[in-house]
Symmetry: C2
Subunit: 428 residues, 2 copies
Amino acid sequence: MMEERTCDLLVRNARQLITLRSSEPGPRCGRAMEDLGVVEDGAVAVRTGRIVAVGVTDDVLSEVALSPGCIEIDASGKIVLPGFVDAHTHPIFVGSRDDEFELRIKGATYQEIARRGGGIRATVRKVRQASKQELFEAALPRLDRMLEHGTTTIEAKSGYGLSTEDEIKMLEVVRDLQESHPVDLVPTFLGAHEVPDEYRGKKPEYIELILHEMIPAVAERELAEFCDVFCEEEVFDVEESKLILTAAREAGLEVKLHADELSPFGGAELAAELEALSADHLVAVSDQGIMALKSQGVIAVLLPGTTFSLGCRQYAPARRMITTEVPVALATDMNPGSCRTESMAIIITLACVMMRLTPAEAIAAATLNGACAVAREGAIGSLDIGKKGDIVIWDMPRYSYLPYHFGVNFVEMVIKDGKVVVDKRNKN
Amino acid sequence: MMEERTCDLLVRNARQLITLRSSEPGPRCGRAMEDLGVVEDGAVAVRTGRIVAVGVTDDVLSEVALSPGCIEIDASGKIVLPGFVDAHTHPIFVGSRDDEFELRIKGATYQEIARRGGGIRATVRKVRQASKQELFEAALPRLDRMLEHGTTTIEAKSGYGLSTEDEIKMLEVVRDLQESHPVDLVPTFLGAHEVPDEYRGKKPEYIELILHEMIPAVAERELAEFCDVFCEEEVFDVEESKLILTAAREAGLEVKLHADELSPFGGAELAAELEALSADHLVAVSDQGIMALKSQGVIAVLLPGTTFSLGCRQYAPARRMITTEVPVALATDMNPGSCRTESMAIIITLACVMMRLTPAEAIAAATLNGACAVAREGAIGSLDIGKKGDIVIWDMPRYSYLPYHFGVNFVEMVIKDGKVVVDKRNKN
């Protein structure tokens, strides 16, 4: 034993321990997305919430001593993954929009529903009337479901307030959830999600409000790490998005962008120009857009659940991005309108089936690359020494089983910061 | 109170009780699929496993008296459905074919994999080596998952034995499961699922074996209610299928057909000619095929999970079938190769998103029409007096929420034959 090390939690004898360890920092690109750092008969040891050893079980046992009361978990026959990092979610809302889901089945488009006052603005009306307590309580079961489905960190956007007061209210709910729920939340300000009812036909005035009131208020209170804009036809155009994101960066926020979801609108190019951390959606991205993302190392956060739930047949060109060595992450986009799911597993299945990601690529995209897309790659996204003990045990024989057996949840145990927070081993 | 009636289980105050009651027998067709017989503030009362009253809670309470020890379940804020009837499954197997899932993502077709000795024959090799006990134990967690996801009756096919001995072994496992698990299983003989390795190039001899040895053996032992054939290019053609199904009917089995899954092969037309109970898959069915199904009232059992999992973009023309008044049912096709899911909820979501069924149509297809497709409409598929107390409580506000919020399981309680068999109300 090189140095005296102890652990207070040990997961051992995993059939496949998916470490995603890497000697190079940053997200996985291209063929490197296939390398999950799989250890057969693997173990991971945690002390006070941080990983202190990882590798073949016998090696780990020779490196660390078990502290008294150490929790020892036998993962024989199971696979072990880092917790999923869901890098694009809208979890703070009240109400349901299953009515719009049904309208879309009957032929209405997302844009038509939005024009009639449905879509985001329908949720905005409800969120404005809700108290912080109501928003908090509505979000809790969503976070519980995320945790039960293997997600340990999410990015969480505002964007259903669309007034200074209501955007702050939403971000304060995110902060309160961060303090009280095991799931870690990374807050993003999305005041430019839509133009609210009272500013219809007065978009420049609404942008003024964002620039001169919302961004300073959010930055001053340190309520967000990122600023995001819905850059799309009929929402915010490229110039407007640039104005908002530039102001946000000057106020100390990192930038993200809803880009090219419904039409090739130059969003990816803007994300590259601004050196945004991520460009999200990208269903309609152009080849130039892909090259631009590659040139600046912008992470493409793909949201196939949204394309699916909107009933669209065209998915983001993920294979072309991977070939071009754009780093690709996967997220749920969990929201009440265009994608109502908390399950990263179904997103992984959709990514494999609809975008032809291999199981390994999809898992890298949902873990390490997701961590990079929220600027947390130093702390989460892989099972590596010094990172958080965010560990999920799955009751399946191989990682390629994860996308294959779909629509049911095989998470058996979730460990967050080294503590067991979900345990379904003896549920019956 | 017209007559003295008591109940030993009562579900009351459901926000929406989806009864699917109908004055007309048989499956729902056309616009009638939209009528779910929804009762607001609904109740259903059960005595010794059978439904004795159903309707508005106050009315039910005035009709029946609660027996001593009656289990009373408050379904306030919840929806209540009949248990799903999954009319097409292959639940008896060992092993996993996630390797083929990955090959398909990388570009191989289902037929190419089959030609190389993968596909059904890969599972056949494993099933032949497995004991009845091994097959039984492998099937149990699948039935558990089905029950937890709201399915109370399934059709269960043989077809991974492909020898008289191994087909009988599979059907005996189905019988043993029927005797020991709450889920009801309806057995189907599918000796004509594929041509086994030892009969490659000798299909006529294998058909002789089916006709003169397997069918008599299955019929004599009363191990199956239905006979099914995989009627498809490179498997069994229309004439061969007709020969087998005619012999089966003469031996007392009702007939079903895997029809037009991969190419328009005349399977639907054959199903109509034989007056089969159902024709299943139908992805590539022709317009004449649809008309033929309609003319004979053959039920179209659609399996969108298979189309999805195979990565195909073309789904069965469900809307054309509904417009033509062909009765449509939905099933999982749960099997180790082309569709590995136990969840009827994800099938319903896929049916809505990919085939444009409305939520109401999809629910009718998964309950009453599924019951018709296994000839059990007198006993299951709706909440109606005299039918089995197969009742599922869902933690959601409206039935249209079921396809909308996807990839997570909202079943809160499952009642089978009037007994609570799944209860997740106080899981935490």
